[in-house]
Symmetry: C2
Subunit: 266 residues, 2 copies
DNA sequence: AGCGACAGTTCCACTATCCGGAATTGACTT
DNA sequence: AAGTCAATTCCGGATAGTGGAACTGTCGCT
């Protein structure tokens, strides 16, 4: 049985068969393209036979496709599920008009992302340039420690939960400005809490800046973040301050409407 | 042993635990909004206790969210998976520039959809009006018997597989023009095979017409369809003929490039 | 209020189902 | 042709899921 070793630092403990299956999906999702059986095997802790059967089952359900010739990728059935998940998501629906307004006010790309597990998932986006391909971000995930939305969402967590999450992160460094560990992150979060805004000054990618404001979890919805992102040449300090005010106000409005619509009895 | 005989490619008998879990997801996806426990129970053939545990597990994995207060909807983690599935999909990537060209040639909305199970899943879309909200279709599913892409894809199947699929469909009637059953559908498919194009003249929704061409399954990719859709006032008969030629040619090009790039050794 | 009906949750013995080591087949290389 | 490595199949054994029934909580009704 000994499933949980001492320093078991995964987001969740594997819950039975389903957990294993999802773990396999996660492994396949983590690679760029298709993966061969052995590649998956290497990243998984399942024995050969077991993994093989799991893949077969997943393929039978359409959750992965076995590009004939032993190479696996995620299945299209996931698209169907996700499209419903997105369309039915009440949080997103409530926030949508506000995103649009924020985009009109700033002219820049606006993102909405929610905290899920130990990362942010982008839920919606209004793009700066016309329709570059909106898919580009929706459903993508981003780290917590180096994005505006990530820090914004973290800033709303209860201290004990925050401690747990912060302890689990990997603190991958993307640029020179990326916060290198728990200490700096906690300091930064204190500042975010004080100001009500989180900045990302080239912490995730070079040349990109971003201002984000928190939307706390409210009964039915999870902690989230709302952000304005721009290239550094359009995101000077005075412009950042301007955006900060706008983002903070809009996030507050969204929070308010959420409370009214989704969780009157929080 | 409910294992089906050869050529089993549809809603199959539930294969073990995973199958049950996916079935639950499907049930939740089939509803408009969140579902209460009992609603799901009613549509499922699982006993109370079992279903409850399944939902709990799914929720623990982030595949469903339990909007506190006993109402379940699909979880955001699905978004992450789907976004990877979409981005990594080689078929879609190959077809994309062609869709764009077709859109420019016609000025109308262009769709790419693949056959999955007993329905079509929309894989990509280039919209007529600017950025209406591209999410609108990707991942959506549509019936086979009343859509251009559906009939186009069906027209490429082998006779025996076709017979199975056609036998399983439900033939829901959406308009007066919706083909009412297997017989008319098979007749229509013969015509599609002969002409290389499938028409949808208000079979799925009133006021909407569409011309689609088949992209046969080729080694690594599934049968698919490519279509141009327009409102009836812009889709007169002579225009439909024009589109037909364009769509047929572009679909042929895509098919060709797929063969070259994905499955030289089909 | 109190009662009744229904929704959601918990429990636990049973056994179907999944597990996983080892042997087999297949593909590709030298 | 032989050797290596990857993918697949097999099967006894134990885990993990099953599902009937009992429990709790919530709401609507008189």
């Amino acid at each position: 049985m000994g499933r949980r070793a001492a320093g078991d630092s995964g987001p969740e403990r594997q819950t039975g068969t389903l957990g294993k299956a999802v773990e396999v999906l996660e492994i396949i999702a983590s690679a760029e393209g298709p993966m061969r059986f052995t590649d998956i095997l290497a990243r998984s802790d399942q024995p050969r036979g077991t993994l093989h059967r799991q893949l077969t089952n997943l393929a039978a359900e359409g959750l992965v496709t076995a590009d004939r010739g032993h190479s696996y990728s995620l299945g299209l059935r996931l698209l169907k599920f996700a499209s419903r998940a997105w369309a039915d998501n009440a949080f997103r629906a409530v926030a949508e008009p506000y995103l649009r307004r924020l985009h009109e006010a700033t002219g820049e790309t606006v993102h909405l992302a929610v905290l899920a597990g130990d990362e942010m998932i982008y839920l919606d986006k209004v793009e700066s340039r016309k329709a570059v391909r909106m898919h580009s971000q929706i459903g993508n995930t981003a780290p917590l420690h180096c994005t505006g939305v990530g820090k914004a969402a973290l800033s709303t967590l209860e201290p004990d939960e925050l401690a747990l999450v912060v302890g689990r992160l990997s603190y991958e460094r993307f640029t020179e400005n990326t916060l290198p560990g728990p200490g700096p992150l906690l300091d930064e979060l204190a500042r975010v809490r004080a100001e009500g805004v989180a900045y990302d000054r080239e912490e995730h990618g070079p040349g990109i800046r971003c201002v984000a404001a928190p939307i706390p979890s409210s009964g039915r919805s999870r902690a989230a973040g709302l952000s304005v992102t721009g290239p550094i040449f359009r995101a000077g300090e005075e412009r950042m301050q301007l955006w900060a005010g706008l983002v903070r106000d809009v996030a507050a409005e969204v929070t308010e409407e959420l409370r009214a619509r989704l969780g009157p009895r929080a």
